[in-house]
């Protein structure tokens, strides 16, 4: 994991002092609301329905045990005892008081954490695959490049007041787990003509009101040119992105209105001017950042050890969990464990202070003291010995963390929605819960197989509903909350955007609607066909017909 040096610590301390001063001036009435707005947003602070909401950055999803304990401390002392993990690998607290935020940020700085640029019209937290560094199908660990991008984008003076927010994702694996194509910039680590790794860079992807898949701007950029390529894209966007209408201000609209050919030409023109400037990365800097992400001291082990096989035979619950939540690791004898935060009755992505502390301890005991957060709002222990899986499972179970529905219908991605968020048109957490209650049988869920549901409470799409196999969007119909359902979305390599099935439904009908959709799939699927594949084969019509059929 990246370790701060004196420079990093100094900048963080300066930032805390700066925000303390700004907050004091705001509270004293010296700084008007409209001017404090962008300052607090760039420190992750929203004013929400019930209280301020503070979004804390988890750079590319990595957290250490001491950091988890600090989050537990903050949940306990500044919040109501829980933390919420978001779809952008960040953490949110819903109840801190504005005047406490500077102290809270100082606490975070102790463990090299912050809330810098987690909101506002600036470059946000860079995200990546939650299996970076341990996935068997990885070309190269993306985290060193994420850290390089994190530093470049943190307090970038030219790009602090962009037309709109800006999100970058990096993917180093064959199977894209980072939803890379629906980011403002998506960076793929690829092999170039001479066999060296470099980057393929897309721009103009995004969700929100106008969902778009990103388009290729650079087919191959050598490593040293990563930052100049990004700076060229950002500069064209900062200069030319629309500022007259915030709903048309994202880079995806600029790319569409300019035309990708011309946008690409403008970026390359800019890039030629800065390509070999001081911003060109050095081999030393790349090696320095890579040095923080070396393999931990793995033992020489073999796959499928006896204690694991025994337990798989004996304990069907463990076996269920193992089948869903454990993923192959690049090293023999190790496994990647996902702790699914989708227990029925708990808001997706929520953890209590004591669960955070428990996970911190388990990470130390079983996974070299580190965890990752995924954009599916789950927590990953990335380096677990296979012979210790039964023990880990028992530990998770004792803290209500052994939910075995990973990747299944009830592993729902869900934004905080109308219960908390001031932007939302409708609630989303109770919708997730009503679906989880309807589908509470693990055998039935396993029979349905891979079919993910994504729920957003408004068209800002924090719940990524466009790329859910089944997407649910809260809409406001004359003051009443309705839900629009879409089918066929995916954030994987063959990314696709869901299509709306038809008129929206009232809240109480949603579990029935999902049941009908699942029934159509079950009756029409061919051997081993996943939900998405059946949908692609048979199209929308059979689903639509069943869902809107009038009861006689």
């Amino acid at each position: 994991m990246y370790k701060y040096d004196g420079y990093d610590h100094q900048m963080l301390a300066d930032r805390v002092a700066q925000f303390r001063d700004q907050t004091e001036r705001f509270l004293a009435g010296e700084l008007p609301d409209a001017e404090f707005l962008s300052l607090r947003l760039q420190n992750g602070l929203y004013i929400q329905r019930l209280a301020p909401m503070l979004r804390i950055a988890v750079p590319y999803g990595m957290l250490s045990s001491p950091q988890l304990r600090k989050l537990a401390f903050i949940a306990r002392h500044f919040d109501k005892g829980y933390a919420h993990f978001t779809t952008r690998q960040n953490v949110q607290f819903n109840w801190p008081a504005l005047e406490d935020v500077p102290d809270l940020l100082e606490q975070l700085a102790d463990v090299e954490m912050h809330a810098i640029q987690t909101s506002g019209n600036c470059i946000r937290n860079t995200t990546t695959d939650q299996f970076a560094g341990v996935a068997p199908d990885e070309l190269e660990d993306s985290r060193a490049y994420c850290e390089i991008i994190r530093q470049w984008s943190t307090f970038h003076p030219e790009f602090a007041y962009l037309p709109r927010k800006f999100k970058i994702a990096v993917c180093g694996t064959v199977v894209d787990q980072a939803a890379t194509q629906v980011h403002d910039i998506g960076v793929y680590i690829v092999r170039g003509p001479d066999g060296d790794t470099g980057f393929r860079i897309l721009a103009g992807g995004g969700l929100g009101r106008t969902p778009v898949i990103g388009q290729e701007i650079f087919d191959f950029v050598e490593k040293q040119h990563l930052l100049t390529a990004l700076e060229a894209i950002l500069r064209v966007y900062n200069r030319e992105g629309r500022r007259d209408n915030k709903y048309k201000a994202r880079i995806k609209i600029l790319v569409r209105e300019t035309g990708v050919e011309q946008f690409r030409a403008k970026v390359h023109d800019e890039w030629q001017r800065i390509k070999d400037s001081a911003l060109t990365l050095t081999a030393e800097e790349i090696a320095r950042c890579q040095s923080f992400f070396r393999d931990p001291p793995y033992l020489k082990l073999t796959d499928s050890p006896e204690p694991l096989l025994e337990q798989l035979d004996e304990d069907v619950l463990f076996s269920n969990w193992h089948q869903q939540n454990v993923y192959p690791h690049k090293r023999p004898g190790y496994a990647i464990v996902t702790v699914c935060l989708k227990e029925t009755g708990v808001a997706p992505g929520d953890l209590t202070d004591s669960q955070l502390e428990h996970i911190a301890e388990l990470a130390e005991r079983y996974s070299f003291g580190e965890v990752r957060i995924s954009h599916q709002q789950n927590i990953i222990l990335a380096d677990v010995r296979q012979d210790q899986l039964p023990e880990l499972y028992a530990q998770l179970k004792s803290h209500a963390l052994s939910s075995s529905n990973l990747g299944l219908l009830t592993d729902i991605i869900c934004c905080p929605g109308g219960d908390f968020c001031a932007l939302a048109n409708a609630k989303s957490i109770p919708i997730a819960e009503s679906i989880q209650r309807r589908f509470d049988d693990i055998d039935e869920l396993k029979d349905i197989g891979v079919a993910n549901i994504n729920i957003s409470g408004c068209m800002n799409a924090c719940g990524h509903h466009h790329v859910g196999n089944i997407g649910i969007l809260g809409v406001d119909k004359k003051g009443e909350e309705f839900y629009q359902v879409s089918l066929g979305g995916s954030s994987k390599n063959l990314a696709s955007l869901g299509k709306i099935i038809g008129p929206a439904f009232p809240q109480e009908e949603i579990p029935d609607v999902i049941t009908k959709i699942v029934d159509v799939y079950k009756s029409r699927r061919q051997a081993n066909e996943k939900f998405l594949d059946t949908y692609k084969r048979i199209g929308m019509a059979p689903f639509k017909e069943t869902v809107y059929a009038k009861a006689d």
Binding site: D14, Q18, L31, T154, A278
Partner: protein
């Protein structure tokens, strides 16, 4: 009365800003001054400005780009860049372009919605003069230049990025 900070000190302003200038008759109303005129005014009335008895500088709005006048920049002692609202970030790019692409060495002045909490980033992008909005306290504003001791990026103030200095 507008307050000016130049090179991190409160300064007297020898320039007169013509924020609005539509016709050449305005030149006779303010004779013999050092004038900052709009880019379009200079384009339309260049000949009138040749005859004017004081120095001439330009101001660009955030939707105008310095590359439009790259070849004549060095003839002006001052270029002012406007912030119609503080959240419009285009003039940051213009400032960097002035300094880095066109190696402009004159005064680069921020005008418009120029506030304490943006001064540090402005200075990193190459602004060295700040015409503060009327309600800003210049003594408090000067402290903003010390908000951070250093930054990660390659900027006008610090051309070598941190990764080459570590």
């Amino acid at each position: 009365m507008q307050k000016l900070i130049k090179d991190k000190a409160i300064a007297k302003d020898p320039w007169t800003l013509l924020k609005i200038a539509t016709g050449p008759e305005i030149l006779t109303a303010v004779p013999g001054k050092n004038l900052i005129v709009p880019l379009q005014f200079w384009r339309d009335y260049g000949a009138d400005l040749e005859q004017y008895g004081g120095n001439i500088a330009l101001w660009l709005d955030s939707d105008e780009t310095v590359s439009e006048i790259g070849d004549v920049l060095s003839t002006f002692p001052l270029i002012a860049l406007n912030f119609p609202v503080y959240a419009d970030g285009r003039s940051y790019t213009n400032a960097r372009e002035l300094r880095e692409r066109f190696a402009y060495e004159g005064e680069v002045r921020a005008i418009g919605d120029v506030l304490r909490d943006q001064l540090y980033y402005m200075s990193r992008c190459g602004f060295n003069a700040f015409s503060l909005r009327h309600d800003q306290d210049p003594d408090a504003c000067i402290k903003a230049f010390d908000d951070f001791k250093t930054g990660y990026q390659s900027t006008v103030m610090e051309p070598t990025p941190l990764f080459r200095r570590r």
